[in-house]
Amino acid sequence: CKQREADKPKIALIMKSLANEFFKTMEEGARSHHKEHAGEYDLTVVGIKDEEDVARQVDLVELMIAQEVDAIVIAPADSKALVPVCKRAMDAGITVVNIDNKFDAGVLADKGAKIPFVGPDNRKGARLAGEYLASRLRPRDKVAIIEGVPNAFNGIQRTLGFEDAMRTGGMNIVSSQTAYWETSKANQVVSALVTEYADLKAVLCANDSMALGAVAAIKAAGKSDEILVVGFDNILAVQRLLEEGKILCTIDQHADKLAIYGIEYALEMLKGEGTPADRETPVDLITAETLK
């Protein structure tokens, strides 16, 4: 992409951890969309090392401002810290579209910025999974929640969604701890919880990587038949576990589509169509049945 045609808009997709399967899928979706519409826009895809690397993501936005792109589609690693730099991008005449993780409304207001959000409602998704789980449990059953990195907005939303569903169902949340989105941390925490609460009935994990760790812990404790596991993201690795029934359900936020929605929205805005309004993307419950 050395030569740039004057009329072709340049779009930057700034994601979180490219090492994370979810964003990997998102990236691939965007790239294949770009391949099909190569005549319409140029695409740069960048990401950060891990989701804690917020400063690096700010740097990347600045980098894209320096590169004079026309639009930025961003999945912010922090819903507050990225607002000022995105505002700067808008001041530089760049169209900004927010995907995946919604910017904090208060900060947007403080900065006087209007950035449209295209993405799923994580809380709703988590509630969906939680309700499906609740249908398999009885009130006062003990459940545990494995959270994402503290401070991660979508993680917090998912926790809230799980809690909503569990409360409505009358379940007893005995513990809610973070495992930093990581398989082995989740494994350790769930192992401990399974031991501490012998009659635990379910573990709700804020992502599928942690669900994998939870499944392994439960299997090691020999309680595969007693404890249900719920995940989020629908990564490739959990599909067989869904089939085998080791994971009850997960939520698909259509990562591959998410970036495409964002890019299409940005293209629309560049053409000057419509006012920036949020657009919610679907979240779907995935269970053994839906896989078939």
Binding site: K24, Q177, L193, L236, A237, Q239
Partner: protein
């Protein structure tokens, strides 16, 4: 260290005083959590811990050796991920039989260790920075091999964790055997003696007509190899190969080894003590999770326990030696 100043221990036998500080710290934690948590002091908890620690234990053994020659290996976490990734891909994508896949996995660890050792020795560079480079490289490799996706393996690899002898899981037995062998090698063999000597004064060793290079290379290779053994066990335990596995593991392993009293300056260390270090960290992690501590509390307590453990170790040495020397 232990075997060398044995004679100087007054009163209690060396074995007891050596591990006394560690054992006390461990006992303290167990009692505390036993009281605070409902089901901590149960066989299940201990079986569960035994289940979880084999991989980190094996890595801690390798790290002990590296630290003894005054080196360090920051790449263990990434190398474990890379080796595990190769194992997973061999099994799932290439449908290789388990032994072949394991062989490939171990080869990865050995090659990484060789690369670390070669660069450190050939250009006389600090191991810290070389293995930091390897940390990045191996992690990149792990993403590449798995295409940044967790590879679910399931059955083919679970046989490893499912095998158990006399109620103990195979990984745990392997880990214990490696700890015992490591300790024996370090304290009783020519190889171990040379390593301690190199860590104490490499120049004097060289001038005694012993070439430190192959010995040091051997240690890095050993560490890489043990890391890949840990990778097999870790992958089996998770039933899947995750390219993000072992993130931050290096600091955890070093913490365990140093809590066990091994010196970062080289020349002093014990594999069994490192095992105690691993146990302390594992018990702490499990205990805190069982009492449902919140993240900030967890962090604060973990930090304090790490520091407290080494301070305790300081006093243990004081008791043994009656003060003196000790350039940190």
């Amino acid at each position: 260290m232990r075997m060398i100043i044995e004679k100087r221990t007054a009163g209690l036998p060396a074995f007891v005083t050596d591990y006394l500080g560690m054992a006390l710290a461990l006992a303290g934690l167990i009692v505390y959590f036993g009281i605070k948590a409902d089901n901590f002091f149960t066989l299940t908890t201990f079986r569960m811990i035994a289940n979880q620690i084999p991989d980190i234990t094996i890595i801690a053994v390798g790290m002990t050796f590296v630290l003894i020659i005054a080196g360090i290996d920051l790449s263990v976490g990434s190398v474990m991920a890379l080796a595990g990734a190769v194992l997973g891909v061999c099994l799932v994508r290439f449908n290789l039989p388990l032994p072949a896949a394991i062989a490939a996995c171990l080869a990865v660890g050995i090659v990484c260790g060789l690369a670390n050792g070669f660069v450190v020795i050939r250009w006389r560079l600090p191991a810290f920075i070389v293995t930091l480079g390897m940390l990045e490289i191996a992690r990149g490799g792990a993403y590449l091999v798995t295409d940044s996706r967790t590879v679910y393996i399931g059955g083919p690899v679970e046989v490893i964790t499912d095998t158990s002898i006399l109620g103990l899981s195979l990984p745990f037995i392997i880990a214990v055997v490696i700890v015992v062998m490591g300790q024996v090698v370090l304290s009783r063999t020519v190889f171990g003696r040379y390593l301690i000597a190199i860590g104490t004064n490499e120049e004097a060793v060289r001038l005694s007509g012993i070439d430190p290079a192959p010995l040091k290379l051997g240690v890095f290779v050993l560490c890489g190899f043990l890391t890949s053994v840990a990778a097999v066990i870790h992958t089996a335990r998770m039933s899947s190969a995750n390219p993000n596995a072992g993130y931050g593991l290096e600091l955890q392993a070093i913490a365990a080894v140093v809590i066990g009293g091994t010196s970062l300056m080289g020349g002093r260390g014990s594999v069994v003590s490192s095992f105690f270090g691993v146990l302390i960290i594992a018990v702490l992690g499990t205990g805190l999770a069982q009492i449902g501590a919140q993240e900030p509390t967890k962090r604060l307590i973990t930090g304090c326990v790490i520091v407290a453990a080494v301070i305790l170790d300081h006093y243990r040495h004081r008791i043994r030696k009656g003060g003196g020397m000790g350039k940190n």
